[in-house]
Amino acid sequence: MLRMRAHALAAVTLAGMTAPALAQDAKGSLTVAFAAEGTVLDPAKYSAGVDHYFIGQMYEQLVRPGLNLEPTNWLAESWKVTDPETKPVLEVALRKGVTFHNGDPLTSEDFEFAYQRLRDPKVSRWSHLQANVERFEIVDDHTFRIHFKEPDGDYIAQWLQLWAVPKKYFERVGEEGFTKAPVGTGPWKYVSRSVKEELKLEAYDGYWNKQHRPKVKNLTIKIIPEDLTRVAAFKTGAVDWIDGVPPSMVEEFKTLPGVKTLSVVSGNNLYIDFPSYKPDSPFNKVKVRQAVAHAVDMDAIIKTVLFGQGERYAEVGKGATGYDPDLKPYPYDVRKARELLREAGYPSGFETPCYNLTTPREPNVKEMGEAVFAYLGAVGIRCRVQGLEYGAWINLGRRGRSGPPEMDGVLSWMWSQNLPGDPATPWGGHLHSFVAGKGWGSYSYTADEKADAMVEQLKSTMVPEKRVALIKEIARYKRDNVLGGWTTYRPVITLAWRDKVEFTPWAYPGYWRGFQEIGLKQ
């Protein structure tokens, strides 16, 4: 039974984790502002990353990335996977002494209950993630096993999927009651919520993690989508912490007296895709795709259009599983790009539709798209630009659907690899070729047998070392042949808070907006 070497560190209980630091009761209150709002407060009903902003404050998972993104046991005291290559069994030993906000102790039944709800498509939108799980076995109050039908690398990559939800409390108050008064094990207890306006939380005194816990009593999260208004709220002192400092104001915020800022990668990966699977399309030729990779000065775009709020990456971002520092993105070289186009048989370039997302899902994504298309035009790939708002953009990108005509040109797209990041699922969606009905390549414009084989193998690789090696191999192959699109940048978000606020940033859950450790200087 091969112990998880990479996670050996995780198996050891972290030093000092359980040492009972003297937790004096937190006092005072703090108001923060988010640009976007989590929709649901029930982890099983989670639909997109933004939901983490709220769920991440009140609920917890078995494992999570630590302060420098290394896997850290959280609600799990220890866990191991046996027979990872044949019939894997995940055994988890729960941490003792953990209680829910209403005082109920955390037991294996709670996780079985969470598992049952995550499997049910009527409740969860991620039921397909439990597809490979055969059964859930409760060994005792603090130990349970998950038996897999076949190896499932993704299950491990996404922090063992399960969120702690109080079974007895849920069954007593029912779904309706639970959404009105949610209970979890997290550092923050639910107080009240007004959709589109604010979420009020209170520090949970009985929180199990004495070392990493909030140092302020009341927290109010305001929702202010309009950048200008959010900045005004911060400057006028109405709020003490904001996320999403507009890129154009980051320099100014860095110089503001009494204000601290933090610029971190948001976990989303942006790229430009093109129909390389279509034989009659110019993008079927690798030289044309390489020409695209050379044609755009992404560094200049990041500096001016994004005000430095972006980080170049080649296939896998820094800190993500399988990051290969030796794999460099294509350099900006207009002469090389034109030469490649000539060799590919397009001496005077060609016309193509270019689809740009106009809704700011990431800051300045529209302006970035316009800039990229302008650079392509400079080397001869002349764009007929069409702007699409989010709903239309998603509908256009999807493969194998009825409705608007198939995407037939250059498309500005994005696919989050989460934090710290694991490319397996995204590659399954846009590197693997599109296979109707199988769930592979739902947004893919690539058809390459070798890439397909490697991605399918990655799906079933649970052994961390093998997983990292395979990711590096796929990344190199993907980069050299510019498959699954050309990777441009990973957006960087900037948070800002006043000196009086003590804030230690945790990446996940909440994509840096988790207030695991926040307080007021005494």
Binding site: V195, E197, I223, L228, A238, G391, G437
Partner: protein, 306 residues
């Protein structure tokens, strides 16, 4: 009186039902919501299951009948995005929009009435031109632009007013200005020309002949007559306030129904779009009815033969 009310209520109901059908059909055509709800990597069978689950695979007319049936019992379906009953979402947000629309209307009337009266009393003088100019300016500037400039000046630079959120009066000032300035020109014009007529009337000259001070004549006896035509139009202006609120709420982070519907349209959240627009039109129809009934209060002649 009853016949008149009955007919109006019937018309209102027809409008509301018609509006619900119109919005139901149009929103259904605005693309597939399932793809926006499920994660990008959800497999096709999960998508099909969700579509069946939500009944989106049924023919359009059957979907409407189901929707209408449920709506009558108060069930407007679950919001695709918020996964809470759409009705709760809408009813939570409706008061904020009403508050903003009323504030906008109050601002515009409080501006249009004095402007209209003064420019009528001092016809041709500089007050007349300045008044009209100020009112015309409002009609020439998009509300959202006014909002942005107000935030820039009063919130960021001068830090007098909170730039966002919902709370006391201070939160209402800028949104009300941004929303209310637009119809001021039209309202001023109505009050001004009504006032011009009234000031030349016999009963005003009679009042003057009896020694009434000019102030009493203008602001008591003349004004109430001039207010009648404006009141008749209040219903229409309240509707334009509701319409305008959509953009203003987005800028001022105002937790109103407008912003909810705007976001629901972008995320193809049909239940919320339907419930939101339906309640806005119910609001509009009721307030029109109230304005019609309120004629009697202002204009006694209506009471007798109304």
């Amino acid at each position: 009186m009853v016949g008149f009310v009955g007919k109006r209520v019937l018309h209102g109901l027809v409008s509301i039902v018609g509006a619900s059908i119109l919005i139901f059909v149009i929103s259904r055509l605005s693309g597939d919501p399932i793809v926006l709800m499920l994660p990008v990597e959800a497999p096709p069978h999960v998508i099909e299951a969700m579509r069946r689950n939500l009944g989106l695979d049924l023919p359009l007319w059957r979907q409407y009948l189901i929707f209408a049936g449920h709506a009558l019992t108060g069930d407007f379906g679950m919001s695709y995005r918020w996964q809470t009953p759409a009705l709760d979402l809408v009813l939570d947000r409706l008061p904020a929009t009403i508050e903003l629309a009323v504030a906008g209307l109050v601002f515009s009337v409080c501006l249009a009435v004095p402007l209209g009266v003064l420019s009528a009393v001092h016809r041709g003088s500089w007050i007349d031109t300045v008044g009209k100019g100020f009112a015309m300016l409002g009609q020439a500037m998009p509300g959202f632009w006014v909002g942005l400039l107000l935030i820039l000046v009063f919130s960021i630079r001068l830090n007098w007013l909170p730039a966002f959120g919902h709370g006391g009066i201070s939160h209402l000032i800028m949104p009300a200005i941004a929303l209310g300035w637009y119809p001021v020109a039209a309202q001023t014009r109505i009050v001004r020309s009504a006032m011009l007529d009234v000031l030349e009337s016999d009963y005003i000259r009679m009042g003057r002949a009896l020694g009434a001070p000019e102030r009493v004549l203008v602001w008591k006896y003349a004004f109430r007559n001039a207010a009648v035509p404006l009141v008749t139009m209040l219903g229409v202006y309240f509707a334009s306030m509701l319409g305008g609120a959509f953009v203003i709420e987005v800028i001022f982070a105002w937790p109103g129904l407008g912003r909810t519907v705007v976001e629901a349209v972008f995320s193809r959240d049909f239940p919320v779009v339907q419930a939101g627009v339906l309640f806005t039109s119910i609001l509009f129809v009721t307030c029109n009815l109230l304005v019609d009934l309120s004629y009697g209060l202002i204009d006694p002649r209506i009471r007798r033969d109304g």
